[in-house]
């Protein structure tokens, strides 16, 4: 039918019909048209097609498409406070604050009740640990332990507070540990048995003393008698604690003690960890009141924000009506 010529030829013919050929192209084509009948025939049929399409009636727009000015709804910009964004954001912030504040409140409540239970827990722990300690005590304590005369207790007391600037519990155990000499194996066993009862008393005392001690290291420099008492109570445990404790013992004396007491370490670990954990847990104690207050404040702010969010939402609804 019509596919005698190449696409290129058809393009030439098509452009020729529209007068879109360059002079050179047109001349070349016209020469060919004279010579090639196929080309002529195709040209004619193309022309007819173009004419047919061209004679399609010019259409008139069925109606006018002019734009009309429609009365626009006054888009009042709401003041920032009334925007839904503000309400949404303040509501979200309120929720977060309430959650956070509630968490703090609950946390502080838990802490207050915990310190009272703490003594009981420590007692339980010490009992368990004492058992653990007593078991291997016989084997590990075979080697003779150094005597207790090596270190002046007074000196230890004085240096300990200066060296320890951490929490009160830490100070207590550190200084007491450093001052305490090591007991012979037999006495150690005895000490561990007594220790359970001792620890009960001690931890009670610690619990009551904590608030006062947290004030500063100066407490350690008070009556030596008191110190000695504490030290005696902590003796056996401290010996083990020092050897195995992950706490850094700053003074040189403490380091010496540690070296001497290395033998005791394995079994002491459990007790040491338990005691330390019990004591250090109590460190963030003073702020029990503060976190509770903070929590209350946050809850209050959150509640206020929530009210604001509700108020702005209602106001916005009213503004739209």
């Amino acid at each position: 039918m019509s596919v005698n010529l190449s696409q290129q030829d058809y393009e030439l013919l098509s452009a020729y019909i529209d007068g879109e050929l360059s002079d050179a192209e047109r001349l070349g084509l016209e020469i060919r048209l004279d010579a090639e009948t196929d080309l002529r025939r195709e040209l004619e049929s193309l022309r007819q097609t173009v004419a047919l399409v061209d004679q399609l009636p010019r259409l008139k727009a069925p109606r006018n498409f002019t734009l009309t000015v429609t009365p626009q709804k006054v888009v009042r910009k709401l003041p920032l406070l009334l925007t839904s964004t503000f309400s949404g954001l303040s509501a979200a912030a309120a929720v977060l604050l309430l959650m956070f504040g509630g968490y703090l409140l609950l946390g502080s409540n838990r802490q207050i009740s915990m310190t009272s239970q703490f003594a009981r827990e420590v007692a339980v722990q010490s009992t368990v640990v004492a058992d653990v300690v007593s078991l291997p005590a016989q084997s590990t304590l075979a080697a003779p332990l150094p005597t207790q005369t090596e270190l002046p207790q007074g000196g230890m007391f004085n240096t300990a507070p200066a060296a320890n600037s951490g929490g009160a519990a830490g100070e207590d155990s550190d200084s007491a540990q450093q001052a305490a000499p090591i007991m012979p194996a037999e006495e150690f066993e005895q000490a561990t048995e007594d220790e359970a009862a001792m620890l009960d008393t001690f931890s009670m005392e610690m619990a009551t003393e904590e608030p006062a001690d947290s004030a500063g290291a100066s407490v350690m420099q008070e009556a030596d008698d008191e110190q000695i008492t504490l030290e005696a109570l902590l003796y056996a445990t401290d010996a083990n604690v020092i050897a195995a404790a992950p706490m850094v013992i700053p003074t040189q004396a403490a380091a010496d003690i540690t070296a001497q007491r290395n033998v005791i370490e394995p079994t002491a670990t459990a007790l040491a960890t338990a005691t330390n954990a019990a004591e250090t847990t109590k460190l963030p104690e003073a702020p029990t009141l503060d976190s509770g207050t903070v929590g209350l404040v946050i809850v209050g702010v959150g509640a206020a924000l929530l009210l604001i969010a509700l108020a702005t939402t209602l106001a916005r609804r009213n503004a739209r009506i």
């Binding site: 393009e11 004419a51 498409f65 002019t66």
Partner: protein
């Protein structure tokens, strides 16, 4: 087509109108609408192949044109307007393609530049002509073209625009315009073969040799 002087006057008037419209003068814009709505509707109708779709396209196109008046930087306002009209039609055609509605566009190969010569629909070109509607047959053949070919054919052979103007409107280069147009014409010719044979007299009557650009 029109007198050179008349055209010049018209152009300067038109430029004044355009400037006014660009500064927000809606009545000035509406005067432009009245000037070009036939042209826009013709193109839209030939491309969309039905009245309702064409009217919608033209309305949308004029709204878009008003909103984008700032993008008109001189030159043929008609070409600028027809470009918007064509794009509006394209958007609608593409939207229809996504929906499983039966339409001409669903013909296999409709998306390619070489659209099928035969249009879709219950009536073949012969039947349509037998009902006395040559124009409708032609329109159906046009509808069987791919979008690009259809646009170029309508702009050239229906609206009489130059290759350059068509290139601007469609965003294609001259070579592409030439090749699309020639293929479109071939397709229409093949599509109308049957009609030609049925009504050779009518065909010949309408045959006007036409080597100059109009």
């Amino acid at each position: 087509m029109s007198m050179a002087s008349a055209t010049a006057v018209q152009n300067s008037n038109e430029q004044a109108l355009i400037r006014k419209a660009q500064s927000g003068d809606i009545p000035a814009f509406n005067e432009l609408v009245l000037l070009y709505q036939d042209s826009a509707y013709t193109v839209a109708y030939r491309v969309m192949a039905d009245n309702a779709s064409a009217a919608d396209a033209v309305q949308d196109a004029f709204i878009t044109a008003y909103q984008r008046l700032s993008t008109y930087r001189g030159g043929s306002f008609r070409a600028w307007l027809l470009r918007i009209t064509l794009n509006t039609c394209y958007d609608e055609l593409r939207r229809r393609k996504r929906r499983p509605a039966t339409s001409i566009e669903e013909l296999p190969g409709a998306e390619m530049d070489d659209g099928p010569a035969l249009p879709d629909g219950a009536a073949t070109p012969e039947q349509v002509v037998q009902e006395g509607e040559l124009q409708a047959a032609i329109q159906q053949c046009i509808g069987g073209l791919g979008e690009m070919q259809r646009a170029v054919l309508v702009l050239s052979d229906v609206e009489g625009l130059s290759y350059q103007e068509i290139a601007e409107i469609t965003g294609a280069n001259l070579g592409t315009v030439k090749s699309r147009l020639s293929r479109a014409r071939l397709s229409i010719r093949d599509c109308l073969q049957a009609v030609q044979e049925l009504l050779p007299a009518v065909y010949r009557l309408n045959n006007k040799p036409n080597d100059q650009s109009t």
